[in-house]
Amino acid sequence: MSASSIGATDQLATPPIGPKPLVAEVGGGRLGDIWRAISRNRKAVAGLLLLLVFVVVSIFPGQIAPDDPTAQTYPPALGPSWHHLLGTTSLRQDIFSQLIFGTRLSLVIALAVGAIATVLAVLIGVSAAYLGGIADGILSLVTDVILVLPIFPLIIVITAYRKNSGLFMLIIVLGVLGWSYGARQLRSQALSLRTREFLESARVRGERRLYVILFEILPTMTSLIVATFLGSALYAVLAAAGLQFIGLGDPNSQSWGTMLYWAQSNEALFAGMPWWALAPGICLALLGAAFALLNYAFDEISSPALRVRKLERSRIPGRLPSPADTTPAVAPDRSVLKVEGLSVAYATDAGPVVAVDNVDLDVGRGEFLAIVGESGCGKSTLLYAIARLLGAPLPGEIIGGRVLFQGQDLVLLEERELRRVRWRDLSVVMQSAMNALNPVLTVAEQMRDACRAHSKMSKAEIEERSREVLRLVSIDPVHLHSYPHQLSGGMRQRAMIAMALLFTPDLVIMDEPTSALDVVAQRSLMVQIKELQERLGFAVIFVTHDMSLVSHFSDRLLVMYAGQVAELSSTRELFDRPRHPYSQGLLEAFPSIRGPKVRLLGIPGSPPDLAHPPAGCRFAPRCAHVQPRCTEGEVPLSTVNGSVVRCVLAEEGH
């Protein structure tokens, strides 16, 4: 993957109004939702059932086990039989009964160690993050030291030293040494929360520190805390068994670990009593598996990005052609890019969401096409689809349409063939240069990697070309060996553009390249892009939410609304005579810096939820001119004086 597509991952992973986070449900006590999430997750169900079995067994061992586990009344070393399901030990005990009675202690050790380790991890991890400074330094150092200590030998030494104190000691030692991994994770999550404004908001409100930690930070970390608990329970199961196996922590107690110890010291495996060792081993593995499954499931439930959803094409309304039935055609000479009927869908919990719906557009050689629209209208998704950056690891799938570039349909190309096109002929500049540039490589190194991946240039040629493109975007080549963080925001954006120009592509796709910049830097970058474009002759697709930004630069303007084309016309025409009520609303939503000062109204309401788009015209719920025929059926695109408009009023010159 190229550097620019790394940036793409960052952006789509956090959609503007993302899938609802689990934490909200936990904090609000919406147990119903959690339950639904769990019951839909197979790993969670399996883990829970497994755990439930062990819990029941540990509560009612007497009712389940056929015999007293300590009774030494049977013939020694019997094989499995109806009477003794797993045979007997050389000490004349029933193995199955021992197994059943051993469950309780094994489970108690796991839960108790899990609880101790979690409490410590929360206390230490969260305090370190919240207090910062020296306190953080010390706590983190302790955490890291414990993390790299060879814990197991240490535990052996400690428990061996206090051998007689038995089980209680075992639990404490395991708990006290087992928190470090969780603490580290909790610290880093709390650190990332620290910059979140709701914490600052609470402090500005006048809340005390303790309140902020307990009631503002912790509730948002529920999932990680649960995960920490499950993780340390898993560790406890294994560590306790290991210790007991070598005879530490009261060998006379009833647990699977001690069974292993006795089995081992009586050479069970070779003396015809295999189940004495195998049965507790399997149970330990199963209990560990239960915690591991739950842990994994919980991760999935709480971070929707991990969940693998399948796109259910049958649930997508409408008759969208699938990519397979389209035959490649040759794009006409004058256009570099021709997009026909392109549709993209995301799989979500609410079913498929068609984020780009049947979009047609073409870009002429050397043309500057701007795409504007609000967040969530599908601008970025459209760009990713055109550059074929969707698909693992990015979610989203092209469900129909063609992207004709240089006479081939990009939708049908293999990843290997795409690499030949991407960057050389079609390059992408992402929204946030800080995310798209690799922070640990210098600009020169990133340019070299790109050149190596896409060409056979020699070292000297690469160096020469890198300097050349930097000069193109007015960056002094001395910055070639700077790291991204050493450059200002404006310079980083310029460096990104320089990288996109390494091979003088035919088409450069830009997603809000200036949105992080101040107006002065923004204008200078826009002017520069325009000059480069005129000089080198590449075409540009420029996505922005700010119409006025492109007013002086773009040849044509495409207004998107809720995944569809609302209007496409020449820029001047669109500013002078906007035909779609949404375009009109957008133009009237900008306060002007020079014109007469008038009260503005904006557009009432907000864009529709794409999982349930309104019937008929998607803008109808917010439109001042709505009429019955708008909602009766799909409103088609119509062409009026060279402008393409999706509105029933278009012809009446609105």
């Binding site: 109004i17 609802k20 006048g206 809340e207 204008r523 200078s524 930004l549 907000s606």
Partner: protein, 331 residues
């Protein structure tokens, strides 16, 4: 709109004198001082909306945090209702000030705790600052503030979780939280910059309405000069930690005096005007104000710079009509 000039000091609700905040940066061995805010004198009148504009890193948010008591001033004083904040003693009086001067944050996606319902922040604020309210009183007040910011029906929105709200609605929750404290001055740090164009105006209008109906003053911090013109009575322009120009909004924006204000205004994209290319070569690199020497901080970028600018830091001068500018050349 009711433009108000920078009235007499007795009318001032809040004013600062020589407000300065430095941060220590760099490694232990090479300690440096970053001058985030230097010597800022500003006033905000009762019921006045004052815009604070400037590029990122110019110190706007640091001023907001100083006013919200997140940072302590390195030097200088903040006077609120003619009482100096440095003499605020005890939790009680700090809380009283926090309630009078709450803050609204920039990012609607991170400024509300996702684990709680919308009502949480609003009710917490009332519990902390309005102990006189009973449980039912708080309920009624909750509905009132949600109504006032346009989150209707209040009875339903109060039960929502943040993820169920759009960005504009979340930002309204921020204003409702502030309003529940019966504020006198709301410090709004870039409250619309992360909102969509079509809903931005709605939030700007909301601030105007709150001023009209509740008599609240606003310090509206933004880098969007056009929205400052739309909303504010007076405008303050910051550059590299200094206040470089101030005056009635319309005056300053139509006839900017300071070369930086001129550059800023000319760079605002305006489809209704010609593209201003005269100074498009300025790439917009603000200086890092680390251990600065005297002299104008804009001098490297300034087309009008004279010798004096290299050595003498220009101070704000009165130009009449409520306008002030910090420049040796401008008049």
């Amino acid at each position: 709109m009711r433009p108000r000039g920078g009235g007499a000091l007795s009318e001032a609700l809040l004013r600062t004198e020589g407000l300065t905040r430095h941060f220590r940066v760099g490694k232990l061995t090479s300690r440096q001082t970053l001058h985030a805010v230097d010597d800022v004198d500003l006033t905000i009148g009762r019921g006045e909306i004052v815009a604070l504009v400037g590029e990122s890193g110019s110190g706007k948010s640091t001023i907001a945090r100083l006013l919200a008591l997140v940072h302590r001033p390195t030097r200088g004083e903040i006077w609120f209702e003619d009482r100096p904040l440095s003499r605020l003693r005890g939790r009680r009086s700090r809380l009283a000030y926090s309630a009078a001067v709450p803050m609204v944050f920039q990012d609607p996606y991170s400024s509300i705790n996702p684990a709680y319902r919308v009502s949480h922040g609003i009710v917490r604020g009332m519990k902390l600052h309005r102990g006189d309210l009973s449980r039912t009183g708080r309920g009624a007040e909750l509905n009132r503030v949600l109504d006032a910011v346009g989150l209707v029906p209040a009875g339903e929105t109060r039960r929502r979780f943040p993820y169920e709200l759009s960005g504009g609605q979340r930002q309204r929750v921020g204003f409702a939280q502030a309003l529940a404290l019966r504020p006198k001055l709301i410090v709004a740090d870039e409250p619309v910059s992360m909102l969509d164009v079509s809903i931005r105006v709605g939030v700007l209008n909301l601030m105007g309405e709150l001023r009209e109906q509740e008599g609240v003053s606003f310090l509206y911090i933004t880098h969007d000069v056009a929205s400052a013109r739309y909303l504010a009575d007076r405008i303050l322009v910051m550059y590299a930690g200094h206040l470089v120009e101030e005056g009635p909004t319309e005056d300053v924006l139509q006839r900017p005096k300071h070369p930086y204000t001129q550059l800023l205004v000319s760079a605002v994209p305006d489809p209704r005007a010609e593209l201003g290319l005269a100074d498009a070569r300025d790439v917009g690199e603000p200086p890092k104000v680390v251990d600065p020497k005297p002299g104008c901080r804009f001098r490297q970028r300034c087309p009008l710079a004279v010798a004096e600018c290299e050595t003498v830091t220009p101070q704000l001068r009165e130009l009449g009509d409520g306008r002030r500018v910090a420049c040796h050349v401008a008049s």
